[in-house]
């Protein structure tokens, strides 16, 4: 889709010195935390219960401090020098494959590190309060640390093998944390579903890695980006599509989107960290990191754009009809990741904005998920928004911080989401007006469902259950909310003077300048108008009349479809689960009849022969003697025949 503007290959990264020589420690800290908490917590649960959560929180904070120091160091360097590699050890050396455990630190990794360790630390702090009464809190922090370590491996690896290791690691952590309350059947099932659907995507990613190895003889980003131009467009398109399949699984893009809404069964900090701010955006990271593949595969880029556009509308529509506050936010996450994917699919013109939106979304969505957790905390873990209402007085801090996130996501002028989403819509309009209009429409729907969520939760009348007394959460939970709310408001400054575009240029290359068909200011004005229309519609439909405590059943087809996740599960059931079940039933039947039957027939045959021949054992000595004599006669006759012949 994007023409020209090919990326700068990662050439000759410098080796790590100074503060960069501590790069490994960023991963090692949370990894050590996970090991200590999971093993120690199992051996001495009482001792660890008193300080395990503090230890678990300190680890990502340490990583964050290191990331900040490295970020400042990298800024002081020349632009050409901003790629640092640290070789730790040889990971796999078999035949021609030589993959080292190498860490890469470049502008893209730097931003991701800050997001993951920063938001991760805040969510660890929040979890101290949220999980206070859970008897398995130490294990929870162990899993959270495991997730952070795996996510850091994913984004810091210098080759696809290391990336894949982290990719699977976050999948495991996600599985463990979705099913953390495993006594709930729904949580266990949701964890399994997420795991299985992710395997489909992982198959794509691993095949792409194999293809890269066959084509380039290496899995390192440096080597592949240097040789990408000569590999031919067909190979590159195949590789791009396979990478996209992997990204779809991890980032819940259509058609592998069905797991994300069920994943909300996990504890809310998990939803905020893994299923909003970091892990689900790994697919976007994969596409941006593999920009050297997509730049030579315009067809694959087109598919990325189509998938992204479908998903951003799909998720937004689901978000409109959900009464479960976390599921409404999950639909919104799908939709926002769709925006990021759209930016990433637009090529060098959009990479920087995709990452920009990823960062701002990480802040405001984590903020809102944690806010939803705070609301649930006050409402005795009720998630049904029809049982909320008028909470702004009962929870002032949660309300104010949530409102900041709300204004950011709908793109209220001046807030972070306004800048990031607007840039993506602008770029999309410049590339292809259909996609651009869809993105605009999605922004309007976002305004609608977020306003609906806001009104149902914080405004209107009290619709609380009996015996529920909403209260503000403790300060250990509100502190992260305040920090994230502040970031949701101000993180738009990253765009100031085109800083983020310029910062990412060493990774994503310099975009060609397309003249937009309509001036940027007009696009911005149009976007604000569309969002305002969505908000006004929500106010008219939700705020002006009482919200029923039971979800109405007499609703339009569109609402019913959105409540059923646009029949994503039904489709999977009909197309994959049912035929699969029929196949296995058939195979079991064949095993029972054909395979078992063959062996049973053999048994019957041998038994029959035995039953006949055992009659010879009649117990009469003289008949035995006769058979001996007959046998001897036969032997003698045979000998004679041989000798005479």
């Amino acid at each position: 889709m994007a023409e020209g503007g090919h990326s700068v290959p990662l050439v000759d990264p410098t080796s790590a010195d100074g503060v960069f020589s501590l790069m490994w420690l960023v991963i090692a800290l949370p990894a050590a935390g996970a090991a200590v908490l999971l093993i120690g917590g199992a051996l001495a649960p009482r001792a660890f219960a008193s300080f395990g959560h503090l230890l678990g929180t300190l680890m990502p904070i340490g990583s964050f401090a290191l990331s900040l120091a490295m970020f400042l160091q990298l800024q002081g360097r020349d632009e050409a020098d901003r790629q640092v590699v640290q070789h730790l050890w040889t990971f796999i050396r078999v035949g021609e494959l030589d993959a080292g455990f190498d860490l890469l630190y470049d502008p893209l990794t730097a931003l991701f590190l800050l997001l993951i360790t920063g938001v991760g630390s805040l969510i660890h702090v929040y979890s101290i309060g949220y999980m206070e009464h859970d008897p398995r809190r130490v294990r929870f922090f162990g899993y959270l640390n495991l997730f952070v370590a795996a996510m850091l491996v994913l984004i810091m690896s210098e080759n696809y093998i290391g990336l894949f290791l982290g990719w699977e690691g976050v999948g495991l952590a996600s599985y463990l944390l979705i099913g953390f309350w495993q006594h709930k059947h729904s949580a266990a099932a949701a964890a399994k579903k997420a795991f299985v659907i992710n395997r489909v995507g992982d198959m794509g990613l691993s095949t792409a890695i194999m293809l890269a190895f066959v084509t380039f003889g290496s899995v390192s980003f440096t080597t592949i980006s240097a040789g990408a131009g000569e590999a031919g467009e067909k190979t590159m398109t195949a590789m791009g599509l396979l990478l996209l399949l992997g990204a779809c699984g991890k980032s819940a893009q259509v058609p592998l989107q069905a797991w994300l809404l069920d994943a909300m069964e996990g504890p809310t900090p998990v939803s905020a960290l893994i299923h909003a701010a970091t892990m689900v955006t790994a697919g976007v990271y994969l596409v941006v990191r593999s920009n050297f593949v997509f730049d030579y595969a315009p067809n694959a880029q087109t598919v990325v754009v189509i998938v992204a556009t479908v998903t951003l509308l799909w998720g937004a529509v689901i978000g409109c009809a959900k009464d479960d506050i976390k599921k409404a936010l999950a639909g919104s996450t799908m939709s926002q990741i769709g925006y990021m994917m759209l930016g990433a699919g637009l090529g060098p013109a959009g990479y920087a904005f995709a990452i920009f939106h990823l960062l701002t979304h990480g802040f405001f969505k984590a903020n809102m998920f944690l806010g939803a957790g705070s609301v649930m905390h006050g409402m005795d873990d009720d998630v049904d928004m029809r049982h909320y209402g008028a909470l702004r007085k009962a929870m002032p801090i949660t309300f104010i911080t949530f409102a900041m996130g709300y204004l950011a996501i709908i793109g209220f002028p001046g807030f972070s989401g306004f800048w990031s989403k607007d840039k993506i819509i602008e770029t999309a309009l410049a590339e292809n007006w259909i996609v651009g209009v869809c993105a605009l429409l999605g922004a309007g729907v976002t305004g609608f469902y977020m306003t609906r969520l806001m009104i149902m939760t914080f405004f209107g009348e009290k619709r609380w259950e009996k015996d529920v007394h909403p209260h503000e959460s403790p300060s250990v939970m509100t502190f992260p909310l305040i920090v994230l709310a502040a970031l949701s408001v101000v993180s738009g400054v990253l765009l100031l003077g085109g800083w983020i575009e310029h910062w990412l240029e060493p990774v994503t290359g310099v975009p060609d300048h397309h003249e937009p068909p309509i001036p940027a200011l007009a696009v911005t004005g149009l976007a604000v108008l569309v969002v305002a229309a969505g908000v006004a519609l929500a106010v008219a439909l939700v705020a002006r009349r009482p919200v029923p405590r039971e979800a109405p059943t007499e609703v339009s087809f569109a609402t019913r479809a959105a409540r059923a996740d646009i029949y994503g599960d039904a489709f999977n059931d009909q197309v994959i689960v049912e035929p699969g079940r029929a196949l296995t039933t058939g195979l079991v039947r064949m095993d029972r009849s054909v395979v078992d039957g063959t062996f049973r027939a053999g048994v019957v045959l041998v038994g029959g022969i035995g039953a006949l021949t055992r009659r010879a054992q009649n117990g009469y000595v003289r008949s035995y003697a006769l058979s001996v004599l007959g046998g001897v006669l036969l032997v003698v006759l045979a000998l004679l025949a041989v000798n005479l012949a």
Binding site: R614, Q617, G619, Y620, V621, R622, A625, L629
Partner: protein, 100 residues
């Protein structure tokens, strides 16, 4: 050379009589005697051939057969005695419990 032929013929006749006796008689003692007859027919053949070839191996083998036959008689007669005491019969057809 021809001087051996009558002995072999006699041996064959004795062996055949013994074999027919084993197959047809029911009395365990008679069957036993028929077995001895077959063994002795074999001894006769062994000695005759040893004489023909001027070789002592056959004669030594005949002694072995006698020793083994003597040992066999001891065990065999003891078994026949025991069977007779418990069943009041020396018929080999009566002792046919060990079968299918």
């Amino acid at each position: 050379m021809d001087s051996v032929t009558p002995f072999i013929v006699l041996s064959s006749i004795l062996f055949t009589i013994g074999a027919i006796g084993v197959l047809t008689r029911r009395n365990a003692i008679v069957v036993f005697m028929c077995v001895e007859l077959m063994l002795n027919a074999c001894n006769l053949a062994l000695v005759a051939f040893a004489h023909q070839y001027g070789n002592l191996d056959g004669q030594i083998a005949a002694f072995f057969v006698m020793v083994v036959a003597a040992a066999e008689v001891v065990v065999g007669l003891a078994i026949i005695m025991t069977i007779f005491r418990t069943r009041r019969s020396a018929s080999v057809d009566d002792a046919s419990l060990l079968k299918y």
